[in-house]
């Protein structure tokens, strides 16, 4: 199951186009608090990063602040605790990329640092949070996560910055994975609502989830009615009828086609409802609702 790949692939160019950490924070949206600023500062202290990989390398290599190290390891441990479950159950974008990026950090630290530096970093992390899952995170570093990096290069570059925002933001507030997952889910839903809003004409000005949903529903219903109407129209056009159809406006044509099927009730929707075998399951109740309201 890979629905989030769609969204993340779409947002990929945006992220790559913004090498600067500060620019990414502007695009990152809600949830980025003081923690985000900390990352920005450390990044600029370590030289302006040109890409995500160099960004991570710079941060991990310089070890700009002790808290940064701590957070790196904390992410790993947290993700080994809760990431798997979330990824299995319809992975929210943020959670999945958190997992990836933690791997990326570990791989970078294994790759670009000297051995002693990497060990020091691990030791610092162990001292600081001392979770039970810490050996797992270490094992991830030791077992050559660099190989994973090659495979997941496309995935891990998806949203590396946004998850830092979330990871840092959750220090102060909700720490449990449920509220995190819920937040990610809500964000994903609103993102898709935005995409849908762009698809439905005249829906951009509508504000509010309920109204947007109304617009979408109405649009789908109108399109389905149109398919129905057009299939009737095509039938009538193909039929060897005596009267010519040329030049009729749609309303006039509608009446002629209605006259052609005079054993059916007048409006085309009713006609579809009465005669269709399967479509009325789709169209019928919606139309009733629309007519009732």
């Amino acid at each position: 199951m890979d629905p989030p790949s769609l969204v993340s692939k779409e947002s990929l160019p945006d992220l790559w186009a913004l090498p600067q950490a500060t620019a990414d924070y502007d695009g990152g949206g809600g949830g980025g608090d003081g923690g985000g600023m900390l990352w920005t500062r450390s990044a600029t202290a370590g030289g302006v990063p040109m890409g995500h990989n160099s960004f991570f390398a710079a941060v991990a290599g310089r070890q700009a602040a002790a808290s940064v190290e701590g957070s790196t390891v904390t992410e790993q441990s947290v993700m080994t605790r809760g990431g798997r479950k979330r990824r299995d159950s319809g992975p929210p974008l943020v959670a999945a990329s958190e997992d990836d990026s933690s791997k990326l950090i570990s791989s970078c630290s294994g790759n670009e640092l000297t051995e002693s530096e990497a060990k020091r970093l691990k030791a610092d992390g162990q001292r600081e949070d001392g979770h039970g899952e810490e050996p797992k995170a270490e094992a991830e570093v030791n077992s050559g996560a660099c190989h994973k990096r090659g495979n997941q290069a496309s995935q891990s570059s998806v949203a590396p910055k946004q998850d830092y925002i979330h990871v840092r933001a959750r220090r102060g507030q909700a720490t449990d994975s449920h509220s995190l997952a819920e937040r990610a889910r809500r964000e994903k839903i609103s993102e898709r609502m935005k995409i849908l809003q762009d698809l439905v004409p005249g829906c951009n000005k509508v504000i509010g989830k309920a109204l947007v949903l109304d617009e979408i529903i109405n649009y789908i219903q109108s399109l389905q009615h149109q398919v129905e109407f057009l299939s009737m129209k095509l039938e009538a056009l193909s039929a060897p009828t005596s009267h010519s159809m040329e030049g009729f406006p749609e309303d006039a044509f509608d009446t002629t086609s209605r006259l052609a099927f005079n054993n059916h009730p007048p409006p085309p929707r009713e006609y579809g409802q009465g005669s269709s075998e399967w479509l009325h399951m789709q169209v019928g109740p919606g139309f009733k609702r629309a007519a009732g309201s």
Binding site: I195, L196, I217, Q221, V227, L234, E235, A260, W278, G286
Partner: protein, 147 residues
């Protein structure tokens, strides 16, 4: 909205590289239906066949993307008749407006009944695009026939 096709999967569409394969399918089906000179027993039969062809062509066009709605639509079309709806036993409680709208959307999008909201919205977007394309194609055909 592009998805990669995994190589091992059966592809119902013979030529996925052509731009609008399902819509070619629609035109072929339309031609076949129109050449059919069987005496019309019921007046709306041909229209129903055209509509079936329209929805089938939509589903076929979306098949390379492996969307759930196209599979559901094809399944429904192959069944040929309205199947008894599966009754879901739910605890009756007052639904909010948004929940009612979600149910509405699930009814409208094929195969939407057993989806979570995230994938439902994704499918809705894809379905909308295909439906709009189909409508414009049918309008074009109607226009070109009547001219």
């Amino acid at each position: 909205m592009h998805r990669e096709i995994s190589p091992g999967n059966p592809n119902p569409n013979p030529n996925p590289n052509s731009p609008m394969p399902g819509f070619c399918y629609f035109l072929h089906a339309l031609a076949r239906i129109q050449q059919d000179v069987a005496p019309q027993r019921s007046p709306g039969k041909k229209g129903r066949r055209i509509r079936r062809a329209a929805y089938a062509s939509m589903a076929v066009a979306a098949a390379p993307r492996r969307m759930a709605w196209s599979r559901a639509l094809l399944r429904r079309l192959r069944r040929r008749s309205a199947s008894p709806r599966r009754k879901t036993i739910t605890v009756t409680r007052k639904k909010t407006r948004t929940e009612r709208q979600e149910d509405e959307l699930r009814r409208l999008v094929p195969g939407g009944r057993r989806m979570d909201l995230c994938s439902l919205l994704e499918e809705t977007g894809d379905y909308l695009q295909c439906l709009a394309a189909q409508v414009s194609l049918m309008q074009w055909v109607a226009r070109s026939i009547s001219e």
